[in-house]
């Protein structure tokens, strides 16, 4: 359960953003979560709600966008989604995923700011 550490990092990042942008209130924080990031969505939202309580972000929502794993497939000659995190191979042709180009993201991607 390292989602609490992750939630605390998110809060820190957003507080810095609020300061630099002069934002007073945040309604929602958008994050992108790769299927191979090692972070569980529900645990992260739970941790965020608890950890943000006594901060400037109290009452804000954490909106999690889950990002699928995408590989560069040498066989298809293009980017393809993989079958699943348990089957890291091209969903189209089955070639092993040696070159993963997406799916490890752990990003704050946007803020809903009340002006």
């Amino acid at each position: 359960m390292h989602e609490l550490s992750i939630a605390l990092s998110i809060i820190e990042i957003v507080e810095e953003e609020m300061q630099s942008r002069g934002a007073q209130q945040i309604l929602a924080v958008h994050v992108r979560l790769g299927a191979l990031s090692g972070v569980v969505k529900d645990a992260l939202i739970f941790s965020y709600d608890t950890a943000s309580e006594q901060t400037a972000l109290a009452g804000s929502r954490l909106v999690v966008e889950e990002v699928p794993v995408v590989m560069d497939c040498p066989e298809c000659g293009q980017r393809r989604e993989v079958r699943s995190p348990q089957q890291l191979c091209c969903a189209t042709c089955g070639t092993s995923a040696l070159d993963i180009v997406q799916g490890r993201e752990l990003l704050v991607s946007g803020l809903e700011v009340l002006e």
Binding site: M1, H2, S5, I6, S9, I10, I13, E17, R21, A23, L27, A28, V31, L36, S37, G38, V39, P85, Q86, Q87, L88, C89, S96, A97, L98, L106, L107, V108, S109, G110, L111, E112, V113, L114, E115
Partner: protein
């Protein structure tokens, strides 16, 4: 007053702080010619015994040390110290994984002298350590033959992030009805190019092949550094 919310685009890596420190560590290790290998596994898969045996062999040729993470107790550090190499405990308290800052702090307060090889034993956990880069060159995931061949499918993220899989306790393989073909198939589903070693740290089976592999890695890492020093010596 405009009360409509405005969407602001941001692009901030949540683990940026860890990644910055990990990069700093990696550059430091590269500069100082230290080969760093981290070990992850579930609790009880045999990280500590494997490492103890590895260090007792390598310390005759290289300056070897280990950092060992645990929630509580110094038992693992004491066991590793039996290898004769310097060992430092990182007690994480309630934290379920090591972070780059802990490795950096532990190193900064440690008068261990110049090193060739540093091992970092993570907290026994197959989930949380996967998100944190520690600045290591090589990440090894260990798993014992009693843990079930489908473990890589249950924890794909940690197996995907490892360079090397060491299957431990092979002396128990027959009793556990361990199926190596099934395990290898599962490992390659989540990390197609992973290298696999089978060992028994207890009776020493196949530890040599691991040692040989690591020595080759150490030599590769140090080759450019030696060449640079020789050029410096000549000029």
């Amino acid at each position: 007053m405009n009360s409509q919310p405005r969407i602001v685009e941001v692009r901030k890596n949540i683990l940026k702080q860890n990644d910055v420190i990990a990069r700093r560590l990696r550059e430091r290790f590269q500069h100082e010619g230290i080969f760093v290998m981290s070990l992850v596994s579930s609790p009880g898969s045999g990280k500590t015994l494997f490492l103890e045996k590895l260090m007792s062999v390598l310390r005759h040729k290289y300056r070897v040390a280990a950092l060992v993470g645990d929630l509580a107790t110094e038992n693992d550090a004491l066991r590793l110290a039996r290898s004769g190499a310097p060992v430092k405990q990182i007690t994480t308290g309630t934290l379920c994984h090591l972070e780059a800052s802990m490795v950096e702090q532990a190193l900064n307060g440690w008068d261990v002298g110049p090193l060739d090889v540093l091992f970092v034993e993570n907290v026994g956990n197959l989930v949380c350590p996967s998100s944190y880069d520690l600045g290591e060159k090589l990440r090894v995931v260990l798993m014992s033959v009693t843990e079930g061949e489908d473990k890589p499918l249950k924890y794909p993220t940690i197996f995907n992030g490892a360079d090397l899989a060491v299957i431990t306790k092979v002396d128990l393989a027959a009793a556990a009805e361990f199926d190596s073909l099934s395990l290898e198939r599962n490992l390659r589903l989540v990390r197609p190019d992973i290298r696999i070693f089978y060992v028994s740290a207890k009776n020493g089976d196949a530890m040599d092949s691991c040692v040989d592999f690591l020595e080759a890695q150490i030599r590769t890492l140090r080759a450019p550094l030696h060449a640079e020093r020789q050029i410096q010596a000549v000029t």
